[in-house]
């Protein structure tokens, strides 16, 4: 697993120039070079420095440069200035990765009394790196979108010719159910404890909302009608001038969008992507439906196998399923739920531990479920919760409708 995850990170930067890898287009995003370095730092900091007596870093200052929450050094050296760290350069960062890899592989091969804990930490490091793989490609899309030439990250792919399936519904009886993780494998702290929750009967749409659906909303004045919107959403829409999903523009009477495969006409049959919670919620309200809760999503989705259009597929954008029975519950786009990201009953943030970092974000964000075309499939679980602020759009974010029965 270690080798596979580490190799995938490198494959994601194939074809990028050093200049590409240094780009940072907003505080929420980081340069590709930083992602490569930070994920290596994680193994160095929490495993090699702790468990290898004579481990020596290629440069002790990297510990400071590539820590995501390093001690504040005044306004010059903040998260939003990661793109200004031109040195160490890409070559030095790649050498750093190799150095860490060599030490890790030696350590993992050794066995010994600490093998168990080292293996657990290495698993965490791999999951951590997979999260950064997703960020790497979406941050890159965001950064390249500022280039007026709209360069393609990967070669353009052929146009889709499959029609979206008609909208159906998956019914569920509700009742007292259990959600959350309680297995023996890897999971983040915020996925547990497993707990009971009561659901009314409900149903989920049998497929994702498509670009075609979204254009109906736009043509019906969805972006101009305050009554569909949450109050904060409307204010944000006005401030940002939103009138379509991120990366869309109109040209010669047609909608285009910028993707990791360059500019493309918007595919009406593909799932809509790059919409904020505010837009998703307005769309649902306009539809006379609503967004699902995360519990509703989880009790339905766990009965479906985890396969779909993930990062591994190499599409880099959401697609229309070949099989009309494909529910797309897994992959393509993260699905906004109406559930704020809050602690599950009985949750306590672990103290001082490596993996404690979810608890402090439990405010002002919403849960999304199911993974996307930028998510490595091996990090998915039915209980996996990701979370973003309701105004954010640069990730692969879409939606599925739900309804009361």
């Amino acid at each position: 697993m270690y080798l596979a995850v580490r190799a995938r990170s490198l494959s994601l930067v194939e074809g990028l120039t050093p200049e590409d890898m240094g780009l940072q287009s907003m505080e929420d995003a980081s340069p590709a070079k930083w992602h490569l370095a930070h994920t290596s730092w994680f193994f160095e900091q929490f495993i090699l420095k702790e468990h290898v007596t004579d481990y020596a870093s290629p440069d002790d200052r990297f510990a400071f440069l590539f820590n995501s929450y390093y001690v504040q050094m005044g306004p010059r050296h903040t998260r939003s200035n990661r793109g200004l760290i031109s040195r160490p350069d890409v070559d030095a960062v790649l050498a750093y990765r190799s150095h860490v890899d060599a030490a890790m592989l030696k350590l993992l091969a050794e066995g010994g009394p600490e093998a168990q804990i080292i293996q657990e930490l290495a698993t965490l490091g791999c999951h951590h790196e997979m999260q950064h793989q997703e960020l790497l490609v979406t941050d890159l899309l965001h950064a390249l979108s500022y280039n007026p030439l709209l360069p393609a990250y990967r070669e353009p792919s052929p146009r889709n010719v499959t029609e979206a399936a008609p909208l159906g519904w998956i019914d569920h009886d509700g009742g007292l159910v259990e959600i959350g993780y309680d297995g023996d494998g890897f999971a983040y702290d915020c996925e547990g404890p497993r707990h009971k929750t009561y659901l009314r009967p409900f149903r989920l749409a049998s497929r994702l909302v498509t670009n075609g659906d979204w254009i109906h909303f736009m043509e019906a004045g969805g972006y101009e009608t305050a009554e569909h919107w949450l109050s904060d959403g409307w204010a944000r829409r006005e401030r940002e001038g939103w009138d379509a999903p991120l990366y869309w523009w109109q040209q010669d009477g047609q909608w285009w969008s910028y993707t990791l495969r360059g500019p493309r006409p918007v595919d009406l049959n593909a799932p809509v992507v790059h919409v904020s919670y505010y837009e998703a919620e307005a769309f649902a309200r306009w539809s006379g439906k609503r967004l699902p809760t995360e519990a509703e999503w989880e009790v339905v989705a766990r009965d479906y196998p985890i396969k779909g259009n993930f990062l591994n597929s190499g599409n880099y954008h959401p697609t229309t399923p070949q099989d009309p029975d494909d529910t797309q519950l897994w992959g393509d786009v993260w699905e906004w739920t109406q559930s704020p990201f809050t602690p599950y009953p009985g949750f306590r943030a672990p103290k001082g531990a490596v993996g404690e970092y979810n608890g402090k974000f439990m405010c002002n964000q919403f849960v999304l479920r199911g993974g996307s075309c930028a998510t490595p499939s091996d990090q998915m679980r039915p209980t996996y919760r990701t979370f973003f602020y309701p105004h954010q759009r640069w990730q692969m974010l879409g939606l599925r409708l739900a309804d009361d029965v």
Copy 2:
């Protein structure tokens, strides 16, 4: 009820000058004059204009000036500029109130086929006015706090001599419970539908967190230790420079606070007030406890009679109960819960109705329960949900600890 509510609004502005009544110190707040006018407009707009054939307003332009969500007229005439509407002056607004009262009393006395609907709307108007009574006094406190003379709204009251009760706990077994409104009386849309929810065993503190408790937190470095804080909370704390509750300052080695009764030394035994959600959550985390959910609060509090230190008591600030068994579940301060303000299962915002206004705020805010020393007691119910953004502090906001059992 109509007479009592309307009279109370006038009693709240007794002793204020026209200058006082025009103050608006931030966008979240409104001038006292505007509150007096807007609550009258509500009766005029939804009852008199609808149900009195020959009703004539003293000035048709008031409909436009005193509507809280009037159509945007460009940046000059926005909510944040209510304090710039010097005309009509206070006398004209008081005349407007009298005009509306005369028409309303005549209408309410008439009976007739529409008596039922009129009475329901009048009840809504009274509850609406009670909400504005609370805002009137808290907005006024905020505005007067910008006067370097720190004037008193009401005469200073004697110092408290009662000690706070020791902290105890109220236990609850949890299980599948029902919360939310389903009675015949008045309630806001967001209080329903009544629905089942599952609770683990828990307990609530037997009293509110006091100023003395809070000073322990401050002295333990609570405001300077990032690990106690939510990420967004810490960022806000840094931006605003928070190091104590709103309206507090240190003078000759003692903490003072500005209140509606003028500057006072902080009373260690009284409940802490004017703290944001971020501060309340950090305090709870530092305590090794947590905030209650709104369901936990409701299933406990509904077994206690609704009496306490409300606006009617005329204290205008939270107090230490005389009776050590007094739980303070009602009155004194609104209690932050850890529950985001979201729709209850099955909730649908009513369309076009008079009372629809809660649905669009169901994002980014947290629920508070129990009412405060600025809340008229007659609007309280066990199901009453108020909500504020996690950074807001100008209302009478405090907290009670909870814990898992």
Copy 3:
């Protein structure tokens, strides 16, 4: 003089309500009540407290509240929050004025060894108060403009029927001239020293730019054509959305403006007013002309008697002269010059003195000359320099063209 100036301040607030007198619509402006109090404080602080042994202020805290540059008390008590000081109220401020007047009149009548210095300071206090009279009416116009009812400060006046004179030119040979004050009367520090400066031959327009001229500029795309504008001006125009002078709007195909006499159709023959330096400069460039320098203006204007449409006329807005030979060099509108407000050669800011306050503003502002319809005529001199930032528009600011010969 003292009596006349003090009486004029009171006459300017006749008909205003206490609410009107508390309005502050931006940091640059102050409430009428504050102007009344601050000008009284000036006499109290610099004359009464210094020269009357047993002088007692009605409230020692006024010294602090009504000082324009009082020591910073943190963000709550800043210049932009003057509108939040509801107490003392208007009655208390009027009583304060009476108290100061009584003490001043007694002192001025006494004579004695300090009579000379007292008289000089009283003269300064009167000139200071005249400056605030101008601000009082223009600040009030700005504040009332935020009221959607657009109330009139003074009764509407009849429409103008006089045509603007055709544009002629006043020629000047240039050469080595002297400008600046060196007389025995009152003048501000920045008006001196009198000094030599060399001028090329030039000419000034024989009248002010009119609203009709300005509409030509607007219709020629003046507000949409970057090449007419200074770089900073264009950026400001974009940020603020300027497309006409301040207080203008279009209604039924006609331009209207809000004035101290209420809303009025724009009078094509009257001088344009409420334009920034950026707009004035763009207009001049578009015209193929330029703005005058302050030296050019002074050497021409000092040959014309100081009479025109000043505050004393009671018009409260610029007017079309009856006499086609009237140059309008005095009154109507302050005329933007192309001269930055800089120290004259040999200028040194006096230390610690009462009148030192001009030196520190000698940066980023431009000089205007000639006084306006809001300026008391008795403060005018040919050497009088006022100054505003190039983006400001709320004063009575207009322009006259100049050209090289």
Copy 4:
């Protein structure tokens, strides 16, 4: 000249990585890569496309990417996002330079009827490129300063051991003088017309203000005493938290600064650099002196030969002159004058011409004179005016005192 100028640009990026060359740390600055491309674009756009019939650009889109004032394409593609254009990469930009050079050299060698105009434009292009050379190194210093490692652009140089000369004065009688350009060589439009101006007797300091002088100012509370400062300067100081020149910090009781040769202890004898106009003006006022006007500077400096510590010296920071009689009027640091950047009498901005770009900046900026250690010496003339906003500090900006006699 063409070859020399073009070669110097390349020499300035020697040793830089592609990552370094893409950095943009603020809107005022541009990446080194952009400077290299934009200066080539200038020759292509104004010479090759106009005068070479079959000229073909390597990529027509470069015309758009590397124009400094390209048509606004919405908020994504603004000047502040130049650092996000990773493609074309550095290699492509270097190839673009070679392509342009080959075409230019061929054209310059051809002669023909347009040779004169081509040569004039090429001269302008060279001067334009020299301006960008200065920006390239100062922008780079600014960008690298955000790297916590504080990397050195060029190898550290030995510490200075020369003492600064004592402060003397250069006297001038004043009178009616002429300044401004009227020769046959190259000069920017804003340097003319040559014109008469009248000066009072004055004197200039015989050397620049040193770091040692500046530390006296700091230790005397210069940064904490409002009375030394212009009002706008004080406000800026508070907002930005200035307490020393840009790039300074204190470490173990000593002042250090970051330079193009890496971190260095502040050299007390070297000229102070990276101070804003606001700071320079406050220093002068605190000294009991003043800044010179640009006319004063010009009439003195034109009698001294143009030699000194320019970019050509390869120091990359200001130095202490070996010769105590060295006035440092040329090189080391640009000297703030008290003259706002305004048009000279008779100046008219040329229409549509290549070199018109100075006129629109004649507002809110101050003139500096004499060139700096980042200025190529061959672009200096006694009449050369550069200009910056009074808050800017990232250029090599210092000061010399002046006084009345």
